[in-house]
């Protein structure tokens, strides 16, 4: 029976929630391909495998590769490990969530395995044919992959939480040679925030160039926190340094699909739309009635943010009390 191998990311002995869509996608591929699902936990500490095995995810096995060279993450050592695991398990389909980690390591491993990869998969047509967006999400392509091994990365917003169940065994794979090729991670400056992660928030409030300067984002933060959401931004706002780069929503930033997306002073360039068009309800506040953002908005308000946002905050506060 063929085997689908999903690569998981963990932190502090726990599965990262961002890995869940990759498991769901793997389950769907396994179902369509008539294949077994296998899961891989890799790192210096793979204790999260126990938690993964207890949730089961209808997997045949949870494999671990425990090696100090796998932490901190480098694409070089991780790709070595992915190649090693794929060969040891005999997996024919490999992948996981399209995080910056897997987007770095999986294509590198795939090159060594001579395997094609479908990036940012949003739907499964069959065991080897996957749907993915191209050209800023303006077209959906069904691509059929052929090779002894094929790969995928799953777009996080497009797959619900995976089904749990079964009682897979935890299996320690034989160790291998994993090497960073002389590369060293010097630092990781994380953007600390008490807010939910952009890709997981129920509400996202984003600001664009029309906010003019970083200090003006305070009012958007107030609205964000009132709604328990995450703060986002356009490229123009992140490039200008108004907010950190990792808040960028769009083709080259985060892909989000919250219940409610509020775009403030954002024009709605296709690259921005590519990152938020999947949101359930879209609100646009822009002073220019011609702004393209209004074409995707469920509710558009032609107004200056200076007038509209404080009033919206007031109304939400007063209806809550």
């Amino acid at each position: 029976m063929s085997k689908v191998l999903v690569i998981l990311e963990t932190a502090g002995g726990k599965l990262r929630s961002s890995s869940l869509p990759g498991i769901t996608c793997g389950q769907q591929i396994a179902a369509k391909a008539g294949a077994e699902l296998h899961l891989l936990v890799l790192g210096a500490d793979t204790s999260a495998a126990a938690e993964v095995a207890s949730a089961g995810y209808n997997a045949a096995a949870v494999h671990t590769l425990t090696n100090a060279a796998l932490e901190p993450f480098t694409a070089e050592a991780w790709a070595d490990a992915i190649v090693h695991a794929t060969r040891s398990i005999g997996a024919t389909i490999i992948g996981g969530t399209a995080s910056s980690t897997l987007r770095s390591a999986l294509p590198r491993a795939a090159a060594v395995l001579d395997a094609p990869v479908a990036s940012e998969v949003v739907a499964i047509k069959s065991g080897d044919t996957f749907t993915r967006p191209v050209s800023s999400g303006r077209a959906l392509v069904d691509v059929k992959l052929s090779g002894a091994v094929i790969g995928f990365t799953a777009r996080g917003t497009e797959f619900e939480a995976p089904a749990t169940g079964g009682s897979p065994a935890v299996n320690a794979l034989p160790d291998g040679a994993f090497d960073t090729r002389g590369a060293k991670v010097i630092s990781l400056e994380k953007t600390e925030s008490a807010r939910p992660a952009l890709s997981e928030a129920r509400v996202v409030v984003s600001g664009g160039r029309g906010m003019r300067e970083g200090a003006n984002f305070k009012i958007l933060e107030q609205l964000t926190d009132l709604l328990g959401g995450a703060l986002g931004a356009s490229r123009a706002a992140t490039d200008a340094g108004m907010v950190p780069a990792d808040l960028q929503v769009g083709q080259t930033g985060k892909i989000v699909a919250p219940e409610l997306y509020i775009a403030v002073a954002i024009s709605g360039a296709i690259q921005h739309l590519a990152g938020m068009k999947g949101s359930k309800t879209i609100v646009a506040i822009n002073k220019d009635e011609e702004a393209p953002i209004f074409q995707v908005a469920d509710y558009g308000l032609v107004a200056k943010w200076e007038d509209a946002v404080p009033r919206l905050i007031e109304l939400i506060q007063s209806s809550a009390s």
């Binding site: 294509p107 077209a139 953007t191 068009k277």
Partner: protein, 272 residues
């Protein structure tokens, strides 16, 4: 030091897509350089040049896999300041990500380059794979999604600020290496080559070709190769079986006031 920069031509992303016969019709498209590759060339030029002087710290070679006759984008990058070009003559139908990556790795090897700079993403295909694959094929270190690059010539290393999901990672890679560049690599102080003053501010964005550059470009060498010359067999691992526009969003409404917006969000959309 030799820097290889990969450049791709794409249908103009500002034109609307034409769907025809279960595919995309690009027969009347205007072809333009992929934006990330413009950023890649700008990165290479900032590393190679000493601002305000004629000296060069590196040779910049641009390479594209494209029909040999359709290489205006390569000429454009030569006009921007790259030193010479390599074109691997192939039709798009012969290419997939595996073939493109192998062709780039083969040229990087035969040219003996120290650094390969690749765009993070092609705006049409959106694979975000080529740089990582080339690094894997060459078995050299990689630094993807670069927002900043600092070159230490004595140590032979690059310090690359990488934009990752939860912040910015600094990765030190020894050369030879492969770097893929993200949007913010073209901000005024993103690139430092150790000779141009660290405080130097470049103009934001990729530079435009000067008139002199355009004249010079015609005299610059472009080597044309075939896939078979570099031992790459053509595609076959990816087959497009259908292309369709995404489902349209139901049309929305313009509300007249903040009060109306609040009311509708609370009662109609029920999201507050």
């Amino acid at each position: 030091m030799k820097i290889l920069v990969t450049v791709k031509r794409i249908p103009d992303p500002d034109e609307s897509l034409k769907f025809a016969g279960g595919g995309l019709d690009t027969s009347s498209s205007k072809w333009v350089p992929n934006a990330f590759d413009e950023y890649a060339v700008e990165t290479a030029l900032r590393l190679a040049e000493v601002a305000g002087k004629r000296d060069r710290l590196a040779e910049v070679i641009v390479m594209s896999i494209c029909p040999a006759k359709q290489r205006q984008h390569v000429t454009q990058f030569l006009a921007m300041g790259a030193d010479r070009g390599v074109v691997v003559d192939a039709d798009d139908s012969e290419l997939d990500t595996i073939a493109v990556s192998k062709a780039i790795a083969a040229v990087a090897k035969s040219e003996g380059v120290d650094l390969t700079i690749v765009g993070k993403l092609s705006q049409d295909n959106e694979g975000n794979q080529v740089a990582q694959r080339v690094a894997g094929l060459l078995n050299v270190p990689q630094a993807g999604f670069a927002a900043t690059v600092k070159w230490d010539k004595n140590a032979g290393t690059l310090d690359v600020g990488r934009e990752v999901d939860d912040g910015v990672e600094h990765k030190l890679v020894p050369l030879p290496a492969v770097v893929s560049v993200d949007l913010r690599v073209v901000l005024p102080t993103s690139i430092k080559n150790g000779v141009t003053a660290d405080s130097h501010k470049y103009q934001e964005g990729p530079r435009l070709a000067s008139l002199r550059g355009i004249t010079m470009a015609k005299r610059k060498k472009v080597k044309v190769l075939k896939l078979s010359d570099i031992g790459v067999s053509s595609a076959g691992s990816e087959q497009v079986v259908a292309v369709a526009p995404p489902p349209a969003r139901p049309s929305g409404q313009i509300v007249g006031s903040v009060e109306e917006l609040h009311e509708k969000l609370a009662k109609e959309a029920k999201v507050l």
